[in-house]
């Protein structure tokens, strides 16, 4: 996918960082148990499993049972980290996440790997385009989509330190680096990666690097874009949203997800209740993707810096038109 991120260095996949961070946490915290549903090698929960086989359960191809078991373990004092592909753990385990985790507010961390369409060739059945919409529909869940390996490490740590349910989406491909080292991170707090006064681009996951590239291109044309990494979709950093609206007057939201129910929808509501400004959204418009190489899919389905750049110019021209009226 390198050509989609000109000038960016690539780090590990967020799933790899997840496996390592989890193994490191496991050293100090006996209460952590890890469960996977026959995708441990892919989600990288196997990294923990190899280090701590006694606290690792591969429950087989049973996502509903996976979640229920985690609920039972959590109510007995364990801290379960459970994983599968996002498309399976969230979509097949939803009612179980509701009853056995969200509703009793139990201390379960859910990791949906292979989020988005950048998983590539396996096609739509394995590509989660709606996990954020569903996870945010679980009251009391914290929902995060980290942008690179460094941020993933920070998110895993925050998830462990938070007592309550957390959903984290991880990705399959190597991710372009956004940070040099593990950043400061807190749920409900966005990171401003670049300041600007003309508009704000709010993004998460792979779209953060795309947003940074778009901002550079826009700057070449004298447009100064603020770029905000909103890894934490819920709770949303409403202050950051409000400032973006007030300070820059136009917002683009970009994510590897359906337009429905994701970061864009949540930011739109926050903008509407605080300081309405023109917005544009980059995401999937009511469609699944298909099989193909990751880069080709990101291009075909419009999830590169080019669409972010175009959305930025669109929203600016709308703002200008509005001001002229």
């Amino acid at each position: 996918m390198n050509h989609l991120y000109p000038g960016r260095t690539f780090g590990k996949a967020t799933r790899d960082a997840y496996g390592e961070a989890l193994r490191d946490l496991g050293r100090d915290h006996e209460e952590i148990v890890v469960l996977d549903a026959d995708l441990a090698k892919s989600t990288k929960s196997a990294t923990f499993g190899e280090a701590f086989p006694d606290r690792f359960f591969n429950v087989g191809i049973q996502e509903a049972n996976l979640v229920g078991m985690a609920g039972g373990m959590a109510s007995s004092g364990k801290v379960p980290f459970i994983s599968s592909f996002a498309a399976f753990v969230i979509l097949k385990g939803f009612d179980q996440l509701r009853m056995a985790v969200s509703y009793p507010k139990l201390n379960v961390k859910v990791i949906g790997s292979h989020g988005g369409i950048s998983i590539g060739e396996d096609g739509a059945s394995q590509q989660s385009v709606e996990d954020v919409a569903l996870a945010c529909a679980l009251p009391d869940f914290v929902v995060c989509v980290p942008s690179d390996e460094h941020q993933m490490r920070a998110v895993v740590k925050a998830a462990f330190e938070h007592h309550g349910p957390v959903y984290i989406r991880s990705g399959r491909p190597k991710a372009p680096l956004v940070y040099d080292t593990t950043p400061e991170f807190a749920f409900g707090k966005a990171a401003t990666l670049r300041d600007g006064s003309d508009l704000t681009i709010i993004a998460n996951g792979l779209l953060v690097a795309a947003a940074l590239i778009a901002a550079e291109r826009l700057a070449e044309d004298g447009i100064e874009a603020r770029v905000v990494d909103m890894a934490c979709v819920k709770p949303l950093d409403e202050d950051a949203v409000r400032s973006a609206a007030e300070d820059t007057g136009a917002i683009v939201v970009a994510e590897e997800h359906l337009l429905h129910g994701g970061l864009g929808a949540r930011v739109a509501q926050a903008v509407a209740t605080s300081h309405p400004v023109p917005m544009e959204f980059v995401g999937l418009d009511d469609t699944y993707a298909e099989s193909g190489d990751p880069a080709g899919l990101m291009e075909k389905y419009g999830l590169t810096w080019k669409e972010v750049d175009a959305a930025a110019r669109r929203v600016l021209s709308r703002r200008t038109a509005g001001a002229a009226r």
Binding site: V33, D54, R55, F57, V59, G60, Q62, A64, N65, V67, G68, M69, A70, G71, G72, M73, A74, S75, S76, G77, K78, P80, D95, Q96, R98, M99, A100, Y103, P104, K105, L106
Partner: protein, 317 residues
């Protein structure tokens, strides 16, 4: 019900029967007061729940509901929760008076069990099919911690149509926790009618056995059989399923086997009738009824046939 690892003495079955009768009274009264809820499946589970809480089976401590080494009871068929609330109140988890708040706003006694509300509730259920997975998680957590806590999960027969039950059954058959006990309240009816008309479960024991469980079938209203099976289950050293043949609505003549009472509370006229039947707690007579296990099964079958014709009533939700 004390924090003793071994029950002091053989449980007094006659006393348990009397407690069961009182629990039934609480059930019909609280449902009448709530004017909604599920009498049928609450009443069919009374003997099992009574034996668990008062027959020296469940090691628990009402003074300290979160005692880590306690045994757990997970009511997977959450709509039957009135029977559990009655048992918890009588065991001292909360005042018996609180039963009147069932299903009312701000009550700790939710219409289906909610972990973190009423003390003594171990899992949030109400969406059927989930309790055995939760129980398996608890059983494995206890094993990890070298605790000998046992986990009892009560399932509905209709509930056994849910695939997640068989996921958990298969997983338990693989992991073989020695402390996981499933009990099926086999009352032959689900919401819309007779199990055997909708999706039959027979051969039910063979299903559990094929998943690697030991099974035992009992008359779920014969208190002696219930107590014996539960005691046996804790000694089995492997996952055990007790299939308790029961009668939906048991103990209230006009509800017995009439699935209209799956989800309809007793009316103002019905309440006194029900209570007066449960008043006559003549131990001899009850004994005679409870012993008639063949009779119980016959009645269940007759009622299945009957319901096939009269499906005008029922449901209510």
């Amino acid at each position: 019900m004390a924090r003793s690892a071994v029950p002091a003495a053989a449980p007094d079955v006659a006393a348990l029967r009397d407690r069961a009768r009182i629990i039934r009274r609480h059930i019909v009264e609280m449902l009448h007061e709530a004017a909604s809820g599920h009498p049928g499946g609450s009443l069919s589970a009374v003997e099992v729940v009574t034996a668990l809480y008062f027959g020296g089976i469940l090691r628990h401590d009402p003074e300290n509901p979160e005692w880590p080494e306690r045994d757990r009871f997970v009511l997977s068929k959450g709509h039957g929760v009135p029977v559990q609330y009655a048992a918890l109140a009588m065991a001292g988890y909360f005042p018996v008076d609180e039963l009147r708040t069932l299903r009312k706003i701000d009550s700790r006694l939710q219409g289906h069990p909610v972990l973190g509300t009423a003390p003594g509730i171990e899992a949030s259920t109400g969406s059927l099919g989930q309790g055995l997975s939760i129980g398996l998680g608890m059983a494995l957590a206890a094993r990890l911690d070298d605790m000998d806590s046992r986990v009892f999960v009560l399932l509905g027969d209709g509930e056994c149509q849910e695939g997640q039950v068989w996921e958990a059954a298969m997983a338990a058959g693989h992991h073989r926790p020695a402390n996981l006990i499933a009990i099926v309240d086999y009352n032959k009816f689900q919401l819309d009618g007779a199990i055997e008309d909708i999706i039959g479960l027979e051969p039910l024991a063979a299903k559990w056995e094929s998943m690697g469980w030991k099974t035992r079938e009992i008359d779920g209203h014969d208190m002696q059989q219930v107590v014996d099976a539960l005691e046996w289950s804790t000694q089995a050293g492997e996952p055990v399923c007790i299939i308790a043949h029961t009668v939906k609505g048991k103990g209230v003549s006009f509800m017995e086997g009439d699935n209209a009472y799956h989800g309809v509370a007793p009316s103002n006229e019905e309440l006194p009738r029900a209570l007066s039947e449960l008043e006559r707690g003549d131990p001899e007579e009850e004994n005679a009824r409870a012993l008639g296990s063949a009779d119980v099964l016959d009645r269940a079958e007759a009622s299945i046939d009957a319901s096939a014709e009269s499906n005008g009533k029922g449901g209510g939700r």
